[in-house]
């Protein structure tokens, strides 16, 4: 979808999607009695992918002095295939951005075991001032940072 206001302002609407790639190391204790990677642990892998990416963003690593605050407002996970635990298993998380709003943005995350997709995650993050306990608008440099991961056709 084209946003007329942004088009008029000369802001690029959407470029090619360049996912951020994170390799999650699976632990022995992540497997359940079925021998599968336990479903709840997937959330930690998606979180680690986000946190590593956020640490390189203008907002900085959460909790570190000087970082700008953000908070998760929604996490939704679809389980597509059970990942079978094996020692040394690495799951690849590819993170893109599907929406950039005024106060919040949405991450679109896909997890793979080799070429086999095992899960999908949608996460809404909100700029958040922990001092004021309320949401804050995203700064221009943050919008610019997230824009590089914006999927084609999104805005």
């Amino acid at each position: 979808m084209t946003n007329p206001a942004e088009a008029a302002a000369g802001v690029p609407i959407a470029g090619p999607a360049i996912p951020n790639v994170y390799e999650a190391q699976v632990r022995w204790s992540d497997a359940d009695i079925m021998g599968h990677v336990n479903h709840a642990r997937y959330l930690s892998f998606f979180e680690d992918a986000r946190m590593n990416l956020l640490a390189t963003s203008p907002a900085g690593l959460a909790g570190v002095s000087g970082s700008r605050g953000y908070i998760a407002a929604r996490v939704a996970v679809d389980y597509l295939w059970p990942a079978e635990f094996r020692p040394g298993l690495m799951l690849r998380v590819e993170t893109m951005v599907s929406r950039i709003g005024t106060m919040s943005w949405t991450l679109d995350q896909h997890m793979y075991d080799d070429d086999h997709q095992v899960a999908h995650c949608e996460c809404v993050l909100v700029g958040y001032s922990y001092a004021d306990r309320k949401s804050r608008p995203l700064a221009d440099d943050e919008r610019e940072f997230w824009h590089q991961f914006l999927v084609t056709g999104a805005r």
């Binding site: 190391q25 632990r27 022995w28 204790s29 930690s44 979180e47 680690d48 946190m51 690593l61 909790g63 020692p87 040394g88």
Partner: protein, 132 residues
Amino acid sequence: MRYVYECPVRWSDLDAFGHVNNVRFLTLFEEARVALMFVGAKDAGLTSFEEGIVVYRHEIDYLRPVDYGPVVRIEMWVSEMRASRFTVSYELFDGDKLASRAASVCVPFDLATQRPRRLSDAERAFLTPWAE
């Protein structure tokens, strides 16, 4: 000879104090053990540890807190070998700083009969180079 293993730290390993929670240290040490006893042993043609081994005892000293960072380095060696058990000792480093010392007593275990068993000759041969 020491076995060196680099273990990634997860965001969810941190607690409200902003450092790796003390209980999670056990999981990090476990990862190092799995790398040697399961992955390393399998590469050497030994799968009997993977078929059943239990922990009899853990002991951990916490020397300094570990903050969120890319990896911690775990150095591990076999500090004692007996007929039906052996002890793995560890040192955990955050950067170049020693953050924890620990040891685990491991017992080969037959899951079918639910009984401990003696170390085989092949297992002794595999562990011997790591004895210190």
